[in-house]
């Protein structure tokens, strides 16, 4: 699609959705609802495109007899089985196969990786001073220790007023930082939307 046409469509649809949000016009609101539904449909197809691309990449690896071709074959077989079981779930009665795949394969594997991450971070924290001996590393370690203690609930459990106030004060620090992050994210999203509406930014290959 040519650049002026795609830009015109993007601008028009953005204005319709924005107008439907602020203006109480039934036509605009109905159009807005319809366009949002279309976005959901497109997102669903995007998931399928990602899956197809993934399969094609691994298919090429397997066909080319790459060194890691067996892993690609395992992935494709696993995908096929999951799809088959998923289609079987669309009947009137749910089948336990999909649930078993999630409970017995996907969840344990991902949970194990997260646990390994926790152990690795702990070991890296111990060797931090051996790698980098600078004030920043010391400050980082101190912050880690403090918030680990706060997160564990050890200090509030003492239920001491001083400690409670200290804990509350320390808890406001990340709160302040996150608030600033959220404001920045919101302003960035607003600016990006306005740039697309006015046509200054064309991320849709225009």
């Amino acid at each position: 699609m040519k650049s002026p046409v795609s830009a015109a469509i993007a601008i028009a649809l953005g204005l319709i959705v924005l107008g439907g949000y602020f203006l109480d016009i039934p036509v605009l609101q109905s159009l807005r609802a319809e366009l949002v539904t279309w976005a959901m449909v497109l997102a669903a197809f995007a998931v399928w495109i990602g899956v197809i691309n993934l399969l094609s990449v691994h298919w090429k690896k397997a066909a080319a007899h790459a060194p890691d071709a067996p892993y690609s074959i395992i992935l494709m077989v696993s995908f096929a089985l999951t799809v088959i079981f998923g289609f079987l779930d669309t009947g009137l009665s749910a089948t336990p196969q999909t649930q078993q795949i999630v409970n017995s394969i996907q969840l344990p594997i991902q949970a194990s990786l997260m646990a390994l991450l926790a152990f690795t971070l702990a070991y890296a924290s111990i060797r931090l001073l051996r790698r980098r001996r600078d004030p920043v590393s010391i400050v980082f370690l101190i912050a880690v220790v403090v918030f680990l203690i706060l997160g564990s609930g050890l200090l509030p459990s003492f239920n001491l007023p001083v400690l409670n106030d200290l804990v509350a004060t320390l808890n406001r620090l990340p709160l302040a930082g996150s608030r600033g992050i959220l404001l920045g994210v919101a302003l960035g999203a607003l600016t990006t939307g306005l740039r697309i509406i006015i046509g200054a930014d064309r991320p849709y290959a225009g």
């Binding site: 779930d89 009137l92 009665s93 749910a94 060797r127 609930g153 409670n164």
Partner: protein, 699 residues
């Protein structure tokens, strides 16, 4: 030759020194002057048969006639066979319409005879000239005219039958004027038979000047040694160039100027006698003189001839002949293939361009301009063994520089491996022991006090059988923490008989929701858990694609966004969703997520559609700091953070669950991690201090 451009005024190429301008006479033609003049005369005349022109008697011919007149009685001249047109028949006067040139005194005094001519003054009679009926009798000098035959148009009869040879010999006595001196043929060497057989191809008009007897069909014509034109079987036997009778084919194909020449010379002496009057070197004369000229004998007495050639003294006996200066027209008759390349006649018909259909035109692109890959020359450098050895050494040195140096992997240190095992063991023990023993170091306390209480308060405000929208938006990897944090909340909702509607923006959310319900029910489910376990009071709407867009669409029109359940039933007709038309019809919205962006999306997209309905978040400890501002701003009515928050909620709801079961191990693992970090930092600090001290002492 080289194809490069040169200025027009140059005669030789400035690059390759090739001749740019062919040898030509004054008029620019490569033909001899006498022949060119004939052609020019023909071109200038109209197409209609012109009247016979006045014969132009060249000087040499006039001198010859003068000598002949003087040596009229000479025996040598009587033996010369000249063509008819050259011989003045005393008995037959020339035609009246033709101007008869005044016969010149051609007598030559013996003492004034040029050397070249005196050679022929021999007493031996010259035999009757044999009719030149074959190509073998054609002298070489006449053969050299063959290139002129190519100048004739091709239409003039390559395939023409050999012309009929005139009966009369061109060199018969009667054809020559009587006053021409007779040159003896003693010193003339007849060309050997094989040389005589080497007939150079002559133009057709000269081939037509053949002797009397035509060649027999069966007689093979010997191929000439030097041939300027490819001989063909139809080559006519070489005839005397002075014959006035043109063969049939030549008459049909000869140019007009030649025909006129024939007509003009029929009744009068021809003007084109190549050799008369000019001195020739004796050697060339001996080899190339025609028969008729060889038979000429020296006139007995003749007046000094007026010759344009310088008079040369008669050679004394025993002395070598003085080479004569070759005139220009004789030089022009030399084989010019060595001087001027024979132009190749290209009879191709142009097929492209504006000249399409024309023939014999110059090609558009010169052959020199043909684009061709440059020739490759084999280049081999001669080197000695020593040089090759040095070359190999240099190459190896350069190759070694480009190759990456193999990195030596450091040997695994035993202390690091031991440290890893120790840390792993400590953490595992810290997690397993409290969970198995159901022991906690300290009572569970949430990181952000007051959050769980708010959430409990929001749930307590619900009535029985309230529709609750539950969003399960966490990844399977964090299911351990999220289930521990949300199990108490789910258990409390199930205890209140809430109608649960499950939705997720994650593909695995629907399956994790079933697991969460099972975990919330525990190992010993209560009776109120049964409807939830069998799905009676649960409507699982499945996956909503599109993240924020899906949330907005679901908030605007939930029935359109998620019409069916995971089992394929129309969800909005089920008893669970009875009376639900919008999100504001739900009594509570519970969002369970570990991703701060997902939580933010629910708050920003869905909360405006809830109205005054409470929104509760159950988040992981890592997302809590980002979602706390929403709680602080009042957009969230309650928040349960991590394992400790779930434990506190279960404590407040008096329904122990996973939270309280995992809280002890969670706290112990965190304590171990804190201890390990502190100990490691202290040990590293001490080690560094000791090393620095030693270094200072050593320094």
């Amino acid at each position: 030759m080289c194809g490069k451009s040169n200025p027009a005024e140059l005669e030789n190429c400035q690059y390759c020194q090739a001749r740019l301008k062919p040898l030509a006479n004054k008029s620019g033609s490569i033909l001899p002057d006498w022949l060119d003049n004939l052609r020019t005369k023909k071109d200038q005349e109209p197409a209609s048969p012109p009247p016979p022109p006045e014969p132009e008697v060249p000087d040499w011919l006039s001198r010859v006639r003068e000598r002949s007149q003087e040596d009229k009685d000479s025996e040598a001249f009587s033996q010369i066979t000249l063509p008819d047109w050259l011989v003045e028949d005393e008995e037959t006067p020339p035609p009246a319409d033709q101007a008869t040139p005044e016969p010149a005194e051609t007598g030559i005094a013996p003492e004034a005879t040029p050397a070249w001519l005196s050679e022929f003054t021999s007493a031996e009679p010259v035999e009757e000239p044999k009719p030149v009926d074959q190509e073998s009798d054609i002298p070489d000098w006449l053969k050299k005219f063959s290139e002129f035959g190519e100048l004739l148009p091709a239409e003039q009869g390559v395939d023409a039958p050999p012309p009929a040879v005139s009966e009369s010999s061109p060199f018969t006595e009667t054809s020559l004027p009587s006053d021409l001196p007779v040159i003896p043929n003693n010193n003339l060497e007849q060309p050997p038979a094989d040389q005589a057989a080497e007939v150079t191809e002559l133009p057709d008009w000269m081939l037509g000047l053949a002797p009397a007897s035509p060649p027999t069909p069966g007689q093979p014509s010997e191929a000439p040694a030097v041939s300027l034109v490819e001989p063909s079987a139809e080559d006519e036997p070489l005839a005397s160039p002075l014959s006035t009778d043109l063969p049939v084919s030549l008459e049909n194909n000869a140019p007009e100027w030649l025909k006129d020449f024939q007509a003009a010379g029929a009744g009068q002496p021809q003007t084109a006698l190549p050799f008369a009057g000019e001195a020739l070197p004796p050697a060339e004369i001996n080899a190339d003189l025609p028969d008729w000229l060889g038979k000429l004998s020296a006139p007995p007495s003749a007046e000094p001839a007026v010759s344009p050639a310088p008079e040369e003294p008669a050679p004394q006996e025993g002395e070598s002949l003085i080479p004569a200066e070759i005139p220009g027209w004789v030089k022009a008759m030399r084989p010019i293939e060595t001087i001027v390349p024979v132009p190749k006649v290209d009879h191709r018909i142009e097929e492209r361009g504006p000249l399409a259909g024309l023939k014999d035109i110059l090609p558009a692109e010169s052959g020199a301009l043909e684009i061709a890959p440059p020739p490759s020359f084999a280049f081999r450098l001669h080197t000695t063994d020593q040089q090759r050895g040095r070359q190999a050494l240099l190459e190896s040195l350069l190759a070694s520089e480009a190759e990456p140096k193999p990195r030596e992997k450091p040997a695994p240190r035993l202390d690091n491996q031991i440290l890893r095992w120790v840390i792993a063991a400590l953490i595992l023990l810290a997690v397993i022991v409290p969970v198995v023993a159901n022991v906690s170091i300290l009572p569970a306390a949430e990181a952000y006090p007051g959050q769980a209480a708010q959430a409990l308060a929001a749930i307590d405000s619900l009535t029985q059988n309230v529709p609750v929208l539950v969003s399960v938006d966490y990844e399977p990897g964090l299911a351990g923490e999220m289930e521990a944090a949300a199990a108490g909340v789910m258990n409390d909702l199930m205890a209140r008989g809430a109608r649960l509607t499950i939705v997720s923006t994650s593909p695995t959310g629907s399956a994790l929701a079933v697991r969460l319900i099972e975990k919330a029910a525990g190992n010993k489910p209560e009776p109120f858990h049964t409807p939830y376990l069998n799905g009676e009071r649960v409507a699982n709407l499945g996956y909503l694609p599109g993240s924020a867009s899906a949330l907005l669409g679901f908030a605007q029109a939930p029935q359109a966004a998620a019409p069916f359940t995971v089992t394929g039933q129309y969800a909005w007709s089920l008893p669970v969703l009875q009376g639900i038309h919008s999100l504001s019809d739900f009594g509570l919205v519970l969002v369970i997520t570990e991703n701060p962006d997902t939580g933010r999306g629910w708050v920003e997209q869905v909360h405006p559609a809830l109205g005054d309905r409470p929104l509760i978040l159950v988040s992981s400890a890592q997302a809590a700091p980002v979602l706390l501002p929403y709680l602080d701003s009042g957009q969230i009515d309650g928040m349960v953070t991590g394992v400790t928050g779930g434990a506190v909620f279960e404590k407040y709801s008096s329904r122990p669950g996973l939270g309280q079961a995992y809280a002890g191990g969670y706290q112990a693992a965190l304590a171990v991690a804190v201890c390990v970090i502190l100990v490691g930092a202290i040990v590293e600090a001490i080690t560094l201090f000791v090393k620095s001290s030693k270094a200072k002492k050593e320094a």
